[in-house]
Symmetry: C2
Subunit: 455 residues, 2 copies
Amino acid sequence: MSTPRATKITPLSGFPEYLPEQRVVEQHFLDVIRSTFELHGFPSIETRSVEPVERLVGKGGDADKEIYGIHRLADAEGGSAGGGRESELGLHFDLTVPFARYVVENAGRLTFPFRRHQIQKVWRGERPQEGRYREFTQCDIDVVDTGELAPHFEAEMPLVMAEIFAKLPIPPMVIQVNNRMIPEGFYRGLGIEDVAGTLRIVDKLDKIGPDKVAALLVEAGRTAEQAQACLDLAAIRTPDTSFVERVRALGVEHPVLDEGLAALSAVIETGAAAAPGAMVADLKIARGLDYYTGTVYETQLIGYESWGSFCSGGRYDELASDGKNTYPGVGISIGLSRLLGLLLGKGLVGASRKSPSAVLVAVTDEGSRPASVAVATSLRARGIPCEVAPAAAKFGKQIRFAERRGIPYVWFPGASDDGGDQVKDIRSGDQVDAEAASWECPVEDLRPQVIALGE
Amino acid sequence: MSTPRATKITPLSGFPEYLPEQRVVEQHFLDVIRSTFELHGFPSIETRSVEPVERLVGKGGDADKEIYGIHRLADAEGGSAGGGRESELGLHFDLTVPFARYVVENAGRLTFPFRRHQIQKVWRGERPQEGRYREFTQCDIDVVDTGELAPHFEAEMPLVMAEIFAKLPIPPMVIQVNNRMIPEGFYRGLGIEDVAGTLRIVDKLDKIGPDKVAALLVEAGRTAEQAQACLDLAAIRTPDTSFVERVRALGVEHPVLDEGLAALSAVIETGAAAAPGAMVADLKIARGLDYYTGTVYETQLIGYESWGSFCSGGRYDELASDGKNTYPGVGISIGLSRLLGLLLGKGLVGASRKSPSAVLVAVTDEGSRPASVAVATSLRARGIPCEVAPAAAKFGKQIRFAERRGIPYVWFPGASDDGGDQVKDIRSGDQVDAEAASWECPVEDLRPQVIALGE
């Protein structure tokens, strides 16, 4: 083998890695997310990490400028590394585009309406910055149907997410909902023809503020009155359906606007009934990606609005098509890496220990290691995670081994006066007689606990 | 957005994807693997998917010829796509090399001996064939220490895997164990100097048979007698420590051979006591990767030996080093994708249903959808996975919706004579009165079951 290099190893910017105690937090989040998705009847699928580049390009708005292609090093040695070979492959930059491909590819073997969840890593070659990574984990749910998709699914998606947020040890989340038909109809009612261009400028509101948006709109050919009306619409945000009156008060009329207002009202009404406070109608939400056609979602962590959205999605009517059938869908996605980047970075959440072991079985001397292994086997048979001490060191050293890993109990085979075993809670120092076949581990000590911490 | 293409979508060779019912099987396997790793006190880590190419090259034997490099498409447009930019990155081809890097990078923040499990995808650009993929999932455990690693860990690793195999619905597995010091000492005792070259030829035994191996050995400069002795050693396979006598009977002596025989005896003795039948000493096992230095493991599924090893690993003393310290380790890895490729491909395992939902809540008419949603919310609050029917179709159609997904129960709000609810087991047709707040779902119906099927 090649000799190990002694060069200093440094992290790769944009490719975060966690220590074991941080990974405990991530796994807790993943477990809550998956189990809630399953409670709501979303089966899991995974798609391969790569797609032909031509399927990725043009689907992701800004994201497709940042696709990573892959190439076999063995090929690169022989000549051109970039293109020219069979079908060039790229790492997926989200889970929606591969899901749309999967649906079309497997349409004959799926049952519609088809719901699924998908939790995977995605890659984007953008400049790393706070909350933005080059490799990160997304947690998606989507429902697609053939031909038509019932509108009640648009209310269901954010409610699943609201249930997840309520179960996680995080500050409150608010899901902002809009319907693209509202700005579209409103702009048309104002006489604006370049709807997409106008939307793109208004979408910068949170980043650059209303004055600059107004200036950009005028620069792009809107009148000052049109620009002001666009800003007035974008300023509307209500926890209930009163947004309808406020839009009406702006005096703009268009059938597409009516349709959008009715659709958003239905979503907000269902949301307010099922999870009061979890959702608001927010008419400035547009979503950068081009494929959304109706309802759109973004989510803010209250107190951390500047971090942007942690959970986004929307309805798309034309993403998946095989030429004969189209598969309209609606989906929403948690940006788990971004959320954990904030929570772990600011110390807002932590784990009670970094080892899954609830018990360290001490070893009196190497000759009696099999007796310690037998204790561990007996505890595991009853679902108690444990490990055997690595060396028959002094008991004080074995206890420190447990302490450093946060393992709450140390088991001493044969430590009792009658030759039986004892177990010590190393937090309290209490040591009591115990049998491996019957000792009950307190349920709160069985697994690491993940808890909210003050900032 | 760009118009969806109507081109036919075909699978990418070497990048397998599962249907939801197959993914249920995969998730069951992943859950058993993870929970057993945790029962044995292995915390989880994940490493980023990429490493600098220079860290990958030279570490993986054959594998490093098949590394996938990644490149930003945005860069490719500007010129050279292959090399020349900062540090070129490649997708990892196993989890051991990135783990070794992680240990060195984080040594100051880890506690030694450090144990971890790691379940992730890896990539190799090799020619796809039966049981070989370009993207696949590995499930690893390793223990590393600073300076010295206690030998008892070499017995612990395969026992964790044996426990997993015993819990999975698969044919019996046998873990074959060897110690590289045995062939090394034996070859030296025979007067052979090129140990690595000899080992590489003997490693082809299963593929090309003893006659061709003997011919290759002679071609490489061994005498006919040396070649025969190498084959005699490789033919020894015993379920207990009787391999020692059989090696001794070959009459070769060397201190490294003695050391290897003692080390392997300790592993096999511990194994035979803890999990009779799970392990055999098999002196032909060598493992292709160059970094192993002591104990090595391979695993065969009985009846499917030609598929090769589903679970492999070994001890490595020099993989991780920061120049000052070395971190010897031992690890073992399940090739989950290869195992599932066989089991799913041959129909040896299956799931009882493809939906996580245990209950479909029927919808009488769209106006009463909120009542059906309330039933679902109540069931979920008690941990019963369920979904609400997508449309207020005729009940027969709603029942068929459940049937096609394998959902065992359909709930009918208000179906009872007294206006209460009823639930139907659609397998038996039994329909009984039930309340969402108290109905007990039989525990075997709560989640999809994964079971062995006859071939």
